[in-house]
């Protein structure tokens, strides 16, 4: 039932799941019930690698596994040589703004840039340096100068021109300033000017608030702001691809925060931005960009405040009319995460028992019948129908396995009876149901 699991993965899975978080490694072993979704994103990643751009909306309510899917997506994308960035929408950031809230989102994205060898984020300097190294190598080859020689200050202009030329080739809007700042980064390194290097990085992350400040520090006229940050993201995408990466994947979670914007005009401007990103990606105006939005059903389908309130998006994101609960279409931009059914949860728990046993080199004394008894008990707890999520089911199950492991004679039925369900949802307005007359 479990193939090729490594001890390190087993430990990571068990420890993370007990802690209620998605494991860093080995996540591929616990994707029960998500075969279609996984196939959908693998195929999407393949398309993006081949130069297409894609936008996907991962839609599901609290506990449906959005974060798990995004994490799995990250893991696979990093392995597939993608540059990946994750950011959450918050009340203080958004896609469209004119008071700096879009740049806050951009900064969050740039801060979280990750690559396979730096999966925790903060990989922007590494990527910059790798790119510069490539330019240096290429320039050295073209000019017949040794790699150690060309790093001397006397060749600074040569490198500067190469950087500017290369940046101009790969970028469109804002390319000049972008190139100039990379040159400054290189200068800072060559001249041992740490401040210059940090200022260049600060500019690239969108952390300059005024043009004056940027001009004083770096000699550039523009800064990254609410109106040009998206162009800069596109520049970075091309920049990463030019280095040999498969593409740039940006995951934006907690999209409910866009739905929560109280001013209708501002909300619609944000949806308009989503539409322009969507159109850019699917009309081929940009290559190798993969953007994922994760949000609740409300965020997508609410006709008054959700994406469906914006007609142009509604027409693009409405479900395939031939799709049913049984016959799904995962090629659509919207992937709805349906809750795992009892059979899938049973398989997942059984699998977790095997991973647990493998991790602790033990043989847990819990039968299939007892697993289903545990499920019955937990699904019948007060509050289960409202609050119970796979996270809690898994956590409780592993905790019980731990108790059994350390106390083999414990009464399992009593253990199952002690389970309590708590509401772990963020504080949000309850979903209103339409009730027909009796």
């Amino acid at each position: 039932m479990i193939d090729h699991i490594k001890p390190k993965e087993a430990t990571s899975i068990i420890n993370s799941l007990i802690g209620g978080v998605v494991p860093k490694t080995g996540v591929q072993h616990i994707t029960v019930g998500r075969s279609e979704e996984v196939n959908a994103f693998i195929s999407a990643l393949e398309d993006v690698k081949n130069g297409h751009s894609i936008v996907k909306f991962w839609i599901g309510d609290f506990g449906s596994g959005k974060s798990f899917m995004l994490h799995l997506l990250n893991t696979v994308a990093l392995k597939q040589k993608f540059v990946v960035a994750n950011a959450d929408f918050t009340p203080d950031n958004r896609l469209y703004a004119n008071d700096g809230k879009s740049v806050i989102l951009y900064s969050a994205i740039m801060d979280n840039i990750a690559i396979q060898t730096k999966p925790e984020g903060g990989a922007l300097p590494t990527l910059l340096e790798k790119w510069i190294e490539q330019v240096i190598t290429k320039t050295a080859e073209e000019n017949g100068i040794s790699l150690s020689e060309i790093r001397n200050e006397q060749y600074l202009n040569l490198i500067r021109n190469s950087i500017m030329k290369t940046v101009n080739e790969i970028t469109e809007v804002g390319g000049f300033d972008f190139g100039s700042v990379i040159v400054k980064y290189y200068e800072g390194y060559i001249k041992n000017d740490e401040l210059l290097r940090r200022n260049a990085l600060k500019w690239l992350k969108g952390e300059y608030n005024t043009k004056t400040e940027a001009r004083q520090d770096l000699g550039v006229r523009e800064i990254i702001n609410d109106s040009n940050y998206y162009d800069m993201l596109k520049n970075f995408c091309k920049f990463f691809v030019s280095m040999g990466y498969s593409g740039f994947m940006i995951n934006l979670d907690e999209a409910i925060n866009l739905y929560k914007i109280s001013t209708r005009a501002v909300r619609e401007k944000n949806y308009e931005k989503i539409l322009s990103i969507y159109n850019d990606c699917f009309q081929g105006k940009i290559s190798n960009l993969f953007i994922n939005f994760a949000g609740t059903k409300e965020f997508l389908e609410n006709e008054r405040r959700g994406l469906f309130s914006y007609q142009a998006l509604k027409s693009r994101l409405e479900s395939n009319k031939f799709e049913t609960l049984e016959i799904r279409d995962f090629a659509q931009p919207v992937i709805k995460l349906t809750p795992l059914d009892h059979n899938e949860i049973f398989v997942l728990l059984k699998k977790l028992k095997l991973i647990f046993d493998f991790n602790y080199k033990t043989e847990s004394n819990i039968s299939d019948h007892e697993i289903s008894s545990f499920m019955e008990e937990i699904f019948n707890k007060p509050g289960a129908s409202e609050f119970l999520t796979p996270r809690e089911v898994i956590r409780d199950f592993l905790n019980i396995l731990n108790i059994i492991r350390q106390n083999p004679n414990v009464d399992k039925r009593q253990l199952f009876g002690e389970i309590e369900i708590s509401d772990e949802r963020p504080d949000e307005k309850p979903f209103e149901m339409n009730i027909e007359e009796i």
């Binding site: 019930g33 040589k81 340096e129 190294e133 040794s146 790093r151 398989v347």
Partner: protein, 495 residues
């Protein structure tokens, strides 16, 4: 009594105070003699006053029941009820009379006439009315007769005020007319000043003395006043403490509305009210509403949508409740319906049905996708463009001027698959020399001396090793860069 001629019943001038039975005059008629002798032999009636010509008078009638004094009997005898459904109820009539007696006693005791020659303020006012309205001389026969008649009018008006006071206390919204028969402004002004204003205050203050209506009376009152329950219902609502006490009070209210054609409305309104406080209670009351509604054969009202929303959180709950209602309508088994409602909100225990075939399918799909992901995440050679920094071809021109021989040795130190560049090997050796932990500042100085970037240098090594190690080789730990010795061993060529 056939053939019996009532003796001057309507003659106000002759008053029989004997209490004896009437003796008819014998005109020599044999038929009459027979009848008379038969009457003579008849049993003596139990109530001696029964045959009194004054027995219909209020005072006489209630003498024993209200334990009246002679004086009170005299006063009450002057009263004439304007008969209506309210005062026809004996209990109500008694309460009216008691309130009347309290009022007149109060007037006699505490409302002193201005002219001390009058015993009471009523006597004084009667005089004023006779003078102002009729202008009769005091000694005239007309005066005497009219004076008594006016006095009776005043008493009857006070009686009406008392009746309204009792009506109000019993929650009867409709009042009887209390127009005073004498409309002369001076009379009205004096009457209001001396009597009405005082009586109204007294009645308001002494309304508490009226006894609560008993169940039998309440049933009659509610039958005649179909909205009377509403005021009591409002009180029950205001006093809500818990669903059981609330229901108990509603049932009591329904019991005294048993003959009220609107009785089902009580349960309906109670159900609406309880919806926000106790769902079970609301459903039970709705069942009782339906029960009464079916009995009355009236149209079933439905709870408002807002109330339904508060009662039912899922469409399944609505269906379940509909099922209970339909069963009840069909069987009319109230007990069963109430029992079903009592269990309505108890969580229904879900049975976990494990479908073997479905599980096999889930496992199969999972195995496939897990394999696919494992392949994607495994350490196979990737076809994508290598992003490692390429060394310049003429390596001996870089940095170190080292003999080829030693280079070969160094090259052979690491497994060939890693294809480390010279500088990468040098970096690895620095780690080896420093027991795999190097201060970041020292490492930075070393790379800066060669004009190399720190981050990209480390990353390029990590990138090369990642395929084999499936992890990062060089890690940052506070102020140090470290290498896991076990990982390092995996890089070495052990041949």
């Amino acid at each position: 009594m056939p053939g019996h001629i009532p003796p001057y019943e309507n003659d106000d001038f002759i008053t029989d105070v004997s209490g004896n039975k009437d003796t008819p005059i014998d005109f020599g008629n044999s038929a009459f003699s027979e009848v008379f002798s038969r009457d003579q032999n008849a049993a003596v009636p139990q109530n001696p006053s029964q045959n009194s010509p004054d027995s219909w008078k209020v005072g006489k009638k209630y003498r024993r029941k209200l334990n009246l004094s002679e004086h009170q009997v005299d006063i009450l005898d002057q009263l004439r009820f304007t008969e209506n459904v309210f005062n026809e109820i004996d209990y109500c009539r008694i309460q009216i009379l008691k309130q009347f007696l309290r009022t007149t006693e109060y007037l006699h005791k505490y409302c002193i006439p201005v002219n001390k020659s009058y015993a009471t303020v009523i006597d004084e006012l009667s005089e004023i009315i006779v003078v102002l309205q009729y202008n009769y001389r005091k000694e005239s026969l007309n005066y005497k007769y009219t004076y008594d008649s006016v006095k009776g009018e005043i008493f009857n008006h006070i009686l009406k005020l008392c009746e309204n006071n009792v009506r109000e206390f019993y929650g009867i919204k409709r009042k009887i007319s209390t127009d005073f028969p004498y409309t002369h402004p001076d009379i009205l002004e004096k009457y209001h000043k001396k009597i009405v204003s005082k009586v109204e205050v007294f009645l308001t203050e002494n309304q508490y003395q009226i006894l609560d209506a008993d169940a039998k009376t309440n049933i009659i009152l509610n039958e005649n006043n179909t909205n009377r329950w509403k005021s009591r219902f409002d009180l029950i609502r205001q006093d809500y403490t818990n669903p059981f006490a609330f229901e108990r009070e509603i049932f009591r209210l329904a019991d005294v509305n048993i003959k009220n054609p609107s009785v089902e409305t009580i349960f309906f309104e109670a159900s609406k009210f309880a919806a926000d406080l106790d769902k079970n209670c609301a459903l039970r009351l709705y069942i009782h509403y339906l029960d009464k509604s079916l009995l009355m054969q009236s149209d079933n009202k439905q709870l408002a949508k807002a109330i339904q929303k508060s009662l039912f959180s899922t469409p399944e709950q609505i269906k379940d409740f509909e099922r209970i209602l339909n069963d009840f309508t069909a069987t009319r088994n109230l007990e069963a319906a109430i029992e079903a409602v009592n269990h309505f909100y108890l969580p229904k225990r879900k049975k976990i049905m494990i479908d073997r075939a479905a599980i096999e399918n889930v496992q199969k799909l999972d195995s496939e996708v897990s394999q696919k992901l494992t392949d994607l995440l495994s350490d196979h050679e990737d076809e994508s463009i290598s992003i490692t920094v390429e060394e310049a071809k003429n390596e001996n021109e870089i940095i170190f001027n080292i003999e080829n021989k030693s280079q070969d040795i160094r090259a052979s130190k690491y497994l060939e698959e890693f294809s480390f560049t010279a500088i990468q090997k040098e970096i690895l050796e620095i780690f080896e020399k420093h027991s795999f932990t190097v201060l970041q500042a020292d490492f930075s100085d070393f790379l800066k001396s060669r004009k190399l970037f720190i981050a990209s240098s480390i990353d390029s090594i990590n990138d090369v090793c990642y395929e084999v190690l499936d992890d990062i080789l060089i890690e940052e730990e506070d102020e140090y860069f470290t290498i896991n010795p076990n990982y390092y061993k995996q890089l070495l060529n052990h041949d």
